[in-house]
């Protein structure tokens, strides 16, 4: 858990981050979103004290971060930056092992951990452990960056525009990886981005920042249905907000157990339980079927979704 209390950074007369307070629950992903110059990166860098706060306090799992040497604090916090920042003169395995080495882990433990992480991020250790960063694609480099941040089993990971340099397909994959990491290790993650879509896709909660202040800290759906500030509305967009809202709900959450009164024969669409309502609606519109069967990974039908049921979820209130 990260508790941020009235955190402030001022350079000379300019206040870059202005009394920001919010709490990130253990095991959740918080996305800080804002335009450039909103202070979002500075806020993130104050959590691991790459930037020393002018005022205010950060507590991680109850411990005040100001009370220990900054470099020791940072070894407990994973850190991923845009453009990955891998060490070009070190192999993939050496890069991933950076923090465990700093912490003095023994070689066997480091080797086991490096293997585990490379496998988790689908980089076969036999092929990739001894490669140098410049021999990898952008997406692979980014995954090594994530593996390196996770190496010493940090409870908290900070990510500064981690997927900004990736093309859309690789980015979607990287976002999936992050959700998988969180699910597997229960890591608390703070991500900074300027990409609202990314914020909606990843965030359990989203903090919208502008001019050093957090305008709203809320669940993604609430940013759409109860925006606290006109800027929030502007950032989330008005034209497709109904569709955005649908994209936040999973098919399994809304599916009804009973089949529709007039089960369509022959052309029933089948959708996965973790598909978003937006995707289900799109599938229904495309196939022309009035209802879709929601199925689990083994193909068993869990329930049903109709166009009407989906549309009801897209209304503002």
């Amino acid at each position: 858990m990260i508790e941020i209390e009235r955190l402030t950074k001022a350079y000379g007369g300019t206040t870059v981050v202005d009394e920001v307070s919010f709490t990130v629950e253990r095991g959740s992903i918080t996305v800080v979103v804002g335009t450039s110059g909103s202070g979002k990166s500075t806020l993130l860098r104050m959590i691991n004290r790459l930037v020393e706060p002018s005022a205010g306090r950060v507590r991680i799992d109850g411990r005040d971060t100001a009370k220990e040497p900054a470099h020791l604090l940072r070894r407990r916090i994973g850190y991923v930056i845009q453009g990955n920042g891998l060490f070009p003169h070190r192999t993939v395995a050496q890069n991933v092992a950076t923090v465990p080495r700093l912490l003095g882990w023994d070689e066997t433990r480091i080797a086991v951990r490096v293997r585990e992480l490379l496998e988790l991020l689908q980089l076969d250790p036999r092929d990739y452990a001894d490669k140098f960063p410049h021999q990898l694609s952008g997406g692979q480099q980014q995954r090594v960056g994530v593996a390196r941040a996770l190496a010493a089993e940090p409870a908290v990971v900070l990510m500064d525009e981690p997927f900004g340099a990736l093309d859309p397909i690789i980015r979607a994959k990287a976002q999936q990886d992050l959700l998988e990491v969180r699910r597997r290790y229960g890591t608390t993650v703070v991500v900074v981005t300027h990409d609202m879509d990314e914020a909606f896709r990843l965030g359990d909660r989203v903090a919208v920042m502008s001019r050093g202040r957090v305008l709203q800290y809320d669940r993604p759906a609430a940013l759409l249905t109860r925006p606290a500030d006109p800027f929030v509305t502007q950032l989330t967009g008005v034209a497709d907000r109904a569709l955005r809202l649908l994209s936040l709900r999973r098919a399994a959450e809304v599916a009804t157990a009973s089949s529709p009164s007039d089960p369509p024969i022959g052309n029933t669409a089948r959708v996965r339980e973790d598909a978003s309502l937006r995707d289900v609606l799109s599938e229904l519109l495309w196939s022309g079927s009035p209802a879709a069967a929601v199925v689990d990974a083994e193909g068993r039908t869990l329930g049903w979704l109709t166009v009407a049921a989906i549309l009801a979820q897209a209304r503002a209130s």
């Binding site: 691991n48 790459l50 470099h71 020791l72 604090l73 940072r74 070894r75 407990r76 850190y79 930056i81 845009q82 453009g83 990955n84 920042g85 891998l86 060490f87 070009p88 003169h89 950076t98 923090v99 700093l102 140098f132 410049h134 960056g145 390196r148 941040a149 900070l158």
Partner: protein
């Protein structure tokens, strides 16, 4: 081309080695230069011993100026040392522009004749390339790995040791290479203050009007410089290859 180059370098090395060990083999080659009947090959000392002494002085001076210049380069690229960069540049530049002969003249009354004044002159003369390349190499380290290193909890000295210096190493070595090559030639003036070296051959030639001696001293010095340049280049490429940086 690469094979022709390698063959040439090998030939140069072989010629140099032969000349230093059995110089008389080359007597007929140099004979036309001194028709007066004076000896065609330097005979006032062992050429190999002179060459080794010459190399020894150059290497000692190179190590000393590399240690000082790299240390200084590191200091002035730290946040706290940045304001000393202009001053250090001036000092090191002065070492390069102040003529080594003048350094010798000033040093002899202080430390006496022999190797010492030569070492001082070469040390001062060799600082600049190493210093400038160290500064340039450290400043060229990309920001992202450094930010990542800080963010992962490396202390300043760990960052220097594990990220900055390895990434700047090829540039630093290039500076050392330049400094060494310049000083192989410059070291010949040490013989004017009685330091052992190939300069003796040249000076003996000048004193006795023997062009053959002058040419022998010059050629041996030049070949050593070229071969050292190549040798350090090989080392540099090896370092780059293991650290995979271009």
């Amino acid at each position: 081309m690469a094979r022709v180059g390698a063959a040439l370098k090998f030939a140069a090395l072989a010629a140099l080695a032969t000349f230093l060990v059995v110089p008389q083999r080359f007597a007929s080659l140099f004979a036309p230069l001194n028709p007066s009947g004076a000896p065609p090959i330097y005979d006032q000392g062992n050429l190999l011993a002179l060459a080794l002494a010459h190399l020894g002085i150059v290497c000692l001076a190179a190590v000393a100026s590399a240690v000082v210049a790299v240390t200084l380069g590191i200091l002035v690229t730290r946040d706290r040392g940045a304001r000393f960069l202009p001053l250090s540049r001036t000092l090191v530049g002065f070492g390069q522009t102040f003529p080594p002969v003048a350094v010798l003249a000033l040093a002899v009354p202080l430390v006496g004749f022999g190797e010492k004044p030569t070492l001082i002159a070469l040390f001062a003369y060799g600082l600049l390339p190493v210093f400038e390349n160290t500064v340039a190499g450290l400043k060229a380290v990309p920001a992202e790995p450094l930010d990542a290193a800080r963010g992962m909890g490396m202390s300043a000295s760990e960052r220097l040791r594990s990220v900055e210096l390895p990434l700047a190493l090829p540039m630093i070595l290039e500076g050392v290479r330049l400094s060494v090559v310049i000083n192989v030639g410059t070291a010949t003036i040490g013989s004017t203050v009685a330091a052992k070296g190939l300069g003796e051959v040249i000076i003996a030639g000048l004193l006795s009007n023997n062009d053959a001696f002058v040419l022998q001293g010059g050629l041996a010095t030049g070949l050593i410089a070229v071969l050292l340049y190549e040798a350090i280049g090989v080392l540099e490429r090896r370092v780059c290859r293991t650290s995979r940086i271009a």
